[in-house]
């Protein structure tokens, strides 16, 4: 139990997927204008990464390893993730329209998000079993949500500030992310 908590904390804070691993930057910079959209994106990412970690880990352990074709992991994972996202979208649309309303628009964006494939590959790299993979995926996604919601709230509150004209737009967002990355470096000694 203690190890599972350590995996979550490690993935969410110490090795934050955005601020120290640089995966999933596109939605981080793009979908962080408003806090509620950022939270929606975060929720969709938590949902998809946790599910994808589970499914890819099962496929790795039960198909790729027994057949000794682990070198096909990249191809297998990206196809599984793409199919999974499509399936989740269709499933949500039919059975949970209210959740689809909230998360639906973000789902197609997530397919080619490197955070999802990155989490699946990290699970393999660190030789996690299925349970640890799911928790590592969950922690990764929580880290993503934490970072994107924090950035969105900072962006909302600096919106009316007097920023030098050349730094308006993406430069100030990048500097904010840099400062956040410095803050997250403080978690390095946590585990």
């Amino acid at each position: 139990m203690k190890e599972l908590i350590l995996v979550i904390v490690g993935a969410a804070l110490v090795n934050n997927i955005i601020l120290s691993q640089f995966q999933g930057l596109c939605p981080f910079l793009g979908v962080s204008k408003k806090t509620d959209t950022a939270a929606g994106m975060g929720a969709a990412v938590i949902f998809v990464i946790t599910l994808a970690s589970f499914v890819t880990s099962i496929i790795y352990k039960l198909v790729l390893v027994p057949l000794d074709i682990t070198y096909l992991q990249t191809i297998a994972f990206i196809l599984v993730i793409a199919a999974l996202v499509q399936f989740v979208e269709m499933f949500l649309k039919k059975s949970m329209p209210s959740l689809y309303q909230a998360l639906g628009v973000f789902l197609p964006l997530i397919t080619t998000n490197c955070a999802v494939l990155g989490a699946a590959l990290t699970n393999v790299q660190k030789e996690y079993n299925i349970l640890f993979s799911v928790f590592n995926g969950l922690g990764t996604a929580i880290g993503f949500t934490l970072a994107i919601v924090l950035l969105a709230s900072i962006r909302e509150s600096i919106e009316d500030n007097d920023i030098p004209v050349n730094f308006k737009g993406s430069p100030i967002v990048l500097i904010t992310s840099g400062l956040m990355a410095i803050a997250f470096m403080g978690f390095a000694g946590l585990i």
Binding site: S20, L25, C26, L29, K33, C114, K168, P171
Partner: protein
Amino acid sequence: MNKCMERLYNGIIKENPTFVLMLGMCPTLATTTTAVNGMGMGLTTTAVLVFSNLIISCLRKIIPDRVRIPAYIVIVASLVTIVQLLLQAFIPSLNESLGIFIPLIVVNCIILGRAETYAAKNGPVESAFDGIGMGLGFTLGLTCIAVFRELLGAGTVFGVTVIPEAYKITIFGLAPGAFFVLAGLTALQNKFKMPSATNGAGGESVLACGGNCSRCSGSACMANHATLETRRLQAEEDALAAKKAAVAQKQAELSAKLDKKD
């Protein structure tokens, strides 16, 4: 031949993926810790890009339109696997330092972007040159950023010491430095009004998702969803109207028949 040269110029200068289009931000920030890493990442991506453009262009008439994206992903993922195995065998040090970012080339927007916008519409030779141009442009962008970061962060360029130990600023070699360098770069581009995706002067992308990672807010995606939804509703309405018309016609025929009988 002229067209091939034009493709090279387009990729390296006019539509440079790093400086002008701002595509593929994740490897741009993550692998530019040292000049060697940045250049290695750029060249690896170039190799994948050239062959993916070539193969997709050769297969462009065979791949059905509806399944083209999964087909492209399979082609790119196979090439990435080949490149990864080659790196493991011949340049293990580079493979070690780039780590997870080699398999992540699969989801690099530059590769799918070029496949969709260029290779799917043009011949194999032009597409291969487009891949070389775009790849070299990406390599150039990454190497420039990486040289700058290595110089400030470690005081070296390609491993050669330039700035003495006491004057280096370690933070530029770490994660936050990547954000700061890119922020400075885009601010300079804004200042000199250079064409770039950040000040809206960059080339307009024809990708369905909008194709501009740094300004993406999912709005293009939402717009696409809305368009699809209205199209679906329209189709449903049309079908309903057609059905109604058919029923009305049948009824009219029936009543006409009844009138005749009477």
